[in-house]
Amino acid sequence: MTGILSLPERRFADEEVVDVVVVGTGAGGAPVLARLAAAGLRVVALEAGAPGPPRDHAADETEATELYWLAERLAGGTTPQPMGANNSGTGVGGSLLHWGAFVPRPDARDLRLRTETGRGRDWPFGLDALLPYLREVEEAIQVSGPRNYPWDPSRRYPQPPVARNQAADAMARACDSLGIRATDAPAALVTRDTEQPGFGTRESCIHCGACHQGCRNGSKAGGDTTFLPAAVLDGAEIRPNCMVTGIERDALGRVSAVIYREDGRERRQRCAALFLCAGAVETPRLLLHAGLCNGSGQVGRNYMAHVATQVWGTVDREIRPNKGYPSSLISEDMVRPADADFVGGYLVQSLGIMPVTWANQVARGRGLWGRGLTDYLAQYNRVIGIGINGDCLPYEENRLTLSDELDESGMPKPLISFSAGENEQRIHAHAERVLSRIWEEAGASDLWTLTRYAHTIGTCRMGPDGDDAVVDGRGRSFEIDNLWICDNSVFPSALSANPALTIMALGLRSADAFLGRLPA
């Protein structure tokens, strides 16, 4: 039987000064909490959402919207970004409850993009500094992957690769004949029954394809199946249904308490330090609302979204795109394509998809309606998809600000303005050509391209200089020395890799820095 995360009964008193409050239990908060708890600190995580055992998830896209952050956000710019299902989650475990578990490592070149090209922005450290943490995360959450990773022969994954679905098979064959390298994707799921400390059994992946609706047997790694139960074992408290709305400071300007709403009541938890791990929308929103850490004017700026172009086609056989782990094949050959007319690059992955998500993309992105729409929808079982995750340059004017509308928390709704730049459009165009070629080789017809951007990145970037960064290379605020940030908001650039693995590695690294364990 699938394991379960049991929340501790113990609750720190509001007036007790805990060592650290962690805001958010997703890819940033979960590893931070686990690391700090393991070091013996008294830590409490405040999570806006509710707890729920994996078995309670529903293999139904409508029911699964409970995993999304549904408080309304406003989208501006020339390429307004959908929110909701777009990589922000709610619930104990955050967006890892519905993430795709696709965990490529960041590419060393992407962290040095400015040095390489003069564009974008370097990270304050190289991949070397992150590598031990990436490996540790892969081990801690048990990533499955190929025996030999073509782009990094030294890499080893703890679990054998997950079965390929039909889109992956088709992509593998087509890439093979086109001379594009492709292999089993690194996926944060177990392919054999695995005991996870504090959680119980994570059962082997059953290829149900419903990763985005919540994994029901614990196969997929999430905070709730890995770091959070470990943290609880070490004495951490996780306090669900608590929405943080403010930060209190002492006479010296240091954080002294966190204000939050629980059951419609405002409360405050005193603390000696604060880790904000609420993601690239909620973290800057809270800081802007509280008027903190923004001497540089960088809070909210440089919002980035990966180029996430998809190409869809129809084949003359059943694909049943709901079956199997959705992203079971990867190619890193386009991380620096030879014929690029852009800086950076992208990863290619095969796609599985559930019908409502697909139909929504068709209706919005392909622009179909009427008979053309219903006829095409009927092709669901025969459609085949392939997509990318491409780097996105930071632009000052792509930013999050506070709107003049309030949401149910009483805080202003965030307004996120995002306009894809020329580099992003060139990546998109290149990817459209490559993906279309692959699908033509696979014998697909009726190809169409979905212009799409995904993930929420940036808005509180880290950097060496407090004049143009919000936190330093360890995640600590330049202005308030007991306030730390660890989530996708600190990314100085977007990278071509999907963000969650990197966020988790940053989580462990920032926690080590907080604990004084990071070499200077």
Partner: protein, 485 residues
């Protein structure tokens, strides 16, 4: 109150409410033509005929008067006939009856003739102002104006005696009542109060009626009637006076009719039997099954919109029918009322977590987007959106999608963004319905029931259809071999 001879037995009593300037005797013609089984009760509304002017003269007081007469008559079965002003009063009384007001049970039929709709009446301001100036210049002038009024509201001259009676009725009307209707009653907004009426309704419209003809009835009246049907007569505005025989025939047929009345999907839309068995199987979890069963419940044809106005709901239904045409040719297949489901979702506040910043909040965007679409239709095609045929509606939606839709209301750019939301919301509701899942051959709901160890799909045979998976409907391509087959 004028009554025709009272037939015995289970006759239906029809309370007849006249137009502005009319009286109970406006119904003498149709009443005489109606045969056995129907008993007509003509009513002088307050300030008209023999009924004195009340203290206040709003739709509410007119409805009070009618309701009281119905209570006194205490019929077992009854109906309401209303012409123009009388129709708006009839709607108000019907709403009370449907809400269970004491003494008003037994309402079975509603006949609205050139009715003044629940919304403010679309009468040109100039004409309204002119009519307000009448009856202030002495008897001779009064009579002339009464004649002008009657003549302006019929498509061809009435027989002399009928015209004479109609003019007399106008003259004996209390002019305070006359002016009150023009300034207050006709302008009252009853859209939310009336909502959507369940009572079977027949809407009669005169082809030559300038303001309240067929288009106005389609656009402003029918949206409030769950089971309403429109019948167009060769007439102007005063149908009972102009076409007593045709009106009587239509009423008689409508009163006799039993069985189904027109309306949106009656009964649930269900997937085929095999898919229902699949949903019931242990492959599907209890939670998913419960959610699917809820989605399979029948839509209420008289669904009362909670966020949109009834007119906007009708517009949304029309848009949904173009965006997502649902075939209902298969046995036992109606259509899913996507518009009603969307309204319910908007009311529950269940958004998708974001909106384009240039659009107002979802509920407001829908109401305004739909009104803008209607305005474009009136501007460009010269008639309400609801009166266009499918091709005409499609042409406007193509304009919207091209960012070319210009009218008062949302901007072309806003309309473009709004229409994308419409498409997204439509497919989300449509595809998540089990009947659609069945048509797609979607097996994902069966990837794990409630057994201790979930089964999912066989990873070594993802290129096979497992025996329990639904079949893909016939199409151009090959189907998968079945595992173990």
């Amino acid at each position: 109150m004028q009554q025709s001879a009272a037939p015995a037995g289970d006759a239906i009593t029809l309370f007849c409410l006249h137009a502005l300037g009319g009286s109970a005797r406006s119904w003498d013609g149709p009443s005489a033509c109606l045969g056995d089984g129907v008993r007509c009760v003509g009513i002088d509304l307050p300030g008209f005929g023999d009924t004195p002017m009340p203290g206040r003269h709003e739709v509410e007081q007119l409805a009070d008067h009618v309701a009281e007469l119905v209570r006194v008559a205490a019929p077992v079965r009854w109906g309401l006939l209303g012409n123009s002003m009388g129709a708006k009063v009839a709607l108000a009384v019907a709403r009370r009856a449907e809400d269970g007001e004491a003494g008003l049970s037994g309402l079975e039929r509603l006949v609205l003739m050139a009715g003044s709709p629940p919304s403010p009446e679309p009468i040109p301001e100039e004409r309204r102002r002119e009519m307000l100036q009448w009856f202030r210049d002495g008897p001779a002038r009064d009579r002339e104006q009464a004649r002008i009024f009657v003549a302006a509201n019929v498509s061809s001259p009435l027989p002399a005696d009928r015209e004479q009676a109609a003019v007399e009725d106008v003259l004996r009307a209390d002019k305070r009542a006359w002016r009150a209707w023009l300034t207050v009653g006709a302008a009252e907004d009853w859209q939310q109060r009336i909502g959507v009426l369940r009572t079977p309704a027949l809407v009669l419209a005169g082809r030559a009626d300038a303001d309240l003809g067929p288009d106005a009835q389609r656009a402003l009246m029918l949206p409030h009637l769950a089971h309403g049907r429109l019948l167009v007569l060769d007439a102007g505005h005063l149908l009972p006076l102009e076409r007593p025989k045709e009106v009587a025939d239509a009423v008689a047929a409508f009163v006799r009719k039993d069985g189904a009345f027109p309306g949106v999907a009656a009964g649930p839309v269900l997937p085929d039997e095999a898919y229902r068995a699949f949903i019931a199987s242990d492959r599907v979890s209890r939670r998913v099954r419960a959610a699917l069963e809820k989605r399979m419940e029948a839509d209420d044809p008289a669904y009362a919109p909670q966020v949109l106005t009834p007119v906007a709901l009708a517009l949304l239904r029309a848009v949904m029918a173009r965006v997502l045409p649902q075939t209902s040719d298969e046995a036992n297949q109606g259509t899913i009322d996507l518009a009603a489901r969307l309204d319910a979702q908007l009311a529950a506040g269940g958004g998708d977590g974001w909106r384009v910043a240039t659009l107002p909040p979802d509920a407001e965007a829908y109401e305004r987007g739909l009104r803008t679409l209607d305005a474009v239709a009136r501007q460009g095609a010269g008639c309400p959106f609801l009166c266009l045929d499918g091709a005409g509606q499609d042409a406007l939606l193509h304009e919207v999608q091209a960012g070319q839709c210009r009218a008062d209301g949302l901007s072309p750019h806003q309309m473009l963004a709004w229409f994308e939301d419409v498409r997204g919301d439509a497919v989300r509701l449509f595809v998540s319905h089990p009947a659609t899942m069945a048509r797609l051959g979607y097996g994902g709901i069966g990837n794990g029931g409630d057994e201790p160890r979930l089964r999912g799909f066989d990873g070594s045979h993802l290129d096979r259809r497992e025996a329990w998976e639904p079949r893909t409907p016939p199409g151009p391509g090959r189907v998968l071999a079945e595992t173990g087959a």
